[in-house]
Symmetry: C3
Amino acid sequence: MNSKGMQLCPGDLLQTSDGKIDREALKALAGQSILNPRQFDRRTVIAIAQLAAVLEMRNVEIDKPLDGKIAITAFFEASTRTRLSFESAVQRLDGKVLSVPDGQVTGVAKGESLADIGEMFNTYGDVVIMRHPETNSMDEIRRNLQRPLINAGNGSGHHPTQALIDWYSLLKWRPELCKDDCPEDRRVHLGIIGTPGSMRAVKSFLRLSLMFANSVKRITLISEMADPVGLDLTEPIEESPIPIDITNDVQEVLPHLDVVYVNSIAFLGDSYRNLDGRYKLDRSSNLKPGSVIMHPLARNDELSEDLDETEHNLYFAQAAGAVFVRQALLTAVLDRLDRISGI
Amino acid sequence: MNSKGMQLCPGDLLQTSDGKIDREALKALAGQSILNPRQFDRRTVIAIAQLAAVLEMRNVEIDKPLDGKIAITAFFEASTRTRLSFESAVQRLDGKVLSVPDGQVTGVAKGESLADIGEMFNTYGDVVIMRHPETNSMDEIRRNLQRPLINAGNGSGHHPTQALIDWYSLLKWRPELCKDDCPEDRRVHLGIIGTPGSMRAVKSFLRLSLMFANSVKRITLISEMADPVGLDLTEPIEESPIPIDITNDVQEVLPHLDVVYVNSIAFLGDSYRNLDGRYKLDRSSNLKPGSVIMHPLARNDELSEDLDETEHNLYFAQAAGAVFVRQALLTAVLDRLDRISGI
Amino acid sequence: MNSKGMQLCPGDLLQTSDGKIDREALKALAGQSILNPRQFDRRTVIAIAQLAAVLEMRNVEIDKPLDGKIAITAFFEASTRTRLSFESAVQRLDGKVLSVPDGQVTGVAKGESLADIGEMFNTYGDVVIMRHPETNSMDEIRRNLQRPLINAGNGSGHHPTQALIDWYSLLKWRPELCKDDCPEDRRVHLGIIGTPGSMRAVKSFLRLSLMFANSVKRITLISEMADPVGLDLTEPIEESPIPIDITNDVQEVLPHLDVVYVNSIAFLGDSYRNLDGRYKLDRSSNLKPGSVIMHPLARNDELSEDLDETEHNLYFAQAAGAVFVRQALLTAVLDRLDRISGI
């Protein structure tokens, strides 16, 4: 449970399908690597969110769905937040963890290739969760890795599990967004402050949002950059029926947005920098009544703490859902749905 | 079991209360944060020590009292000794661990606030064990943290679990110290070589010692500093019925001390330094026969290895008790006393 | 299972003794520290390999042989590969791990002695697995450590578990090497590219190989150094009935070798360097048909990736066996053979 801001109820999300979960969509994930949000469709996103809701409402210790499974958390780029989130998910389900908190420091110093590291992981664990500063790292390790690989962030590439977490909180906040026939007045105008082309979390969130054409009525990108979209998304955006516009005038668009997604950390070439830093949200910002703010965290100055205790704060609830989405995904990938009773 | 020095028997400690443990005092710790030794009283210290004694004598694997619980060990200041001690305690009781071995390096690099980190921990674990170089860190993280927090050392602040460990070894060594009517000839003269004002372990040990007015007959502080006490303890010392004096002449006082507590590592402003380094104990020191030396470890030159094989060495037994005290405290804080059979 | 190269079948190794394992040899390891390959004999090496084969073929989660045991992985020299291999072994058998991924950084900064660290470990865990850059580190920590210690590499000293892993893969590859009466045409000519005197993995492999006088018909050391052998092995080599020669002409000897063991990482004084770097193996090397290449990994330029997909590649199968050998050894040292059903 989050300490401040909006409190979400996972039960509401289950009512949209009379408590039934689309097991078929989840079964299709068994043994799969999760590399790019492109590989999902709307049906799968909703199924994962619904399984996460079940897990959030229930004490799963009794089921012990990952009993006997070992997950390797290989963080070649340190991230306490994401690493612990995955490790908590694994352990809550009674799986075990082999942790590489900082692969840059602790061992690949001998210059071992990612392909050789992938070979090594084959007998060490049952699933590999990797973050790496290089965008092509996922391809590299998969040259020899035979276990499912979960991309926990690769350079300026993707961050698919973050995008699932983002949509989990959106769907809990407004369950009608799941529906094929979402009522017109419940559809949302999404605003994204950031540069999808060089911010993987933002890019993956946008990619998933494009799948919800029935419930997202417009997307506005707010960025200082001339071309914030980047190559990966040019085509999906062109093909999407959702109207998408780009602006650098946050004041003008802010009062129209139902959802404001903020992030400032960008991967440029080989390191992280803050971009779009002149867009700062605080209590004086002209937010639409009833609108919500999302942020993948960690935050810098772009999002003021003075918003924490307002109803615009969806970002704490968003963070609080992360462990459950990762639990759901790991259960599906490791083919242990059958161990969760009553779904 | 320690390899050298005095061997203590936990059973002796239980006989002082006919094997009965003060469950009520322990129950009061359920859900509490453990921040400052000030929050304990003598009764609680003895109850924790007695539960530790039970756990030390018994194989608790069968009970699995922390089954399903996750502890986060968040060490923003690296300390292998203290971190592993807590992690061993958690795992011996069948709990699980999310480990942050070096928070300075691995992740808060993005400049995340402690308040945001506390928010993150809410869904990751059930209890947070934190060490931090800043004294106000415990207040900071508790702005959003809703889980019990155990202070494993905060700057020049406190180290309450170390103080409990210290008293556990004293009470095992001389169980009469538990009693309201400790006989006059069994009461002890404590000497503390160090500067409580800037040494948190020493400060917390002194704070707890002040609660044992019936069994501590005198406390002598031995320090090079003009005012070794510091602000935190000025008032408790004034209010205590125990006579307390300060000296810089270790030669004069040493032959009178029943217990000599040594430490040299001080936190000064923003880093660690060795203080009071001219007081060195070795076999040639004029120690009272039957007296014992305590040290929270790690040690430097202030305590010679040539004392290890003498009966003055209580410090190895002290270290050996650490895991059991932390087991007892975690069991109480996580409200799992009922899982330990037969107490 | 390895992704490329030779695929080995552990069942073949068990058939050499009609599926029977020499329990007596394994029982003798209970409570023992594993410091130097010298402490093994051929019978014990084969027994460990056979237990590893059983574990490789079977899902041991059901047996949970290390339930309730805690292993401390104390890596004072970082090595992700070796540390994770041990931690995977412990967890696959349902034991628990206290991990020190990088002891140089995280805690011994206070200057604590290895002897004091050994004392600390007595109550934290049930077995200590240590890697350390100093050759005398194992003796140092054992001054106070009362738990079994497993040497995971000490300076230019030894690496006994790596040697067991090497021989496990050799024995799976050619099970007749187990036999007292290995047929003449199945006996092998071993070539070792490297400098045993300053390469602990190479040294330990050579030491174990000397025990197989019935199945190794010749050993050739290929090194640039004038005296590659070093003091530790001078005597065992002199006493061995196996003919041993030294050359720096790899071209001349390569076509005669049945097994080529390669490594280039040497410990010289106080750090690691690449030695014998001018010997590079690749597809153009004049390897004997049917011969195999071994490498303890991580590799550098001395072993080309273009050999990975050939039948000479035994090194991936060798790496894949590591976890099982360590499982077997830990089960024996922690006296839990009785928990493994049906052996």
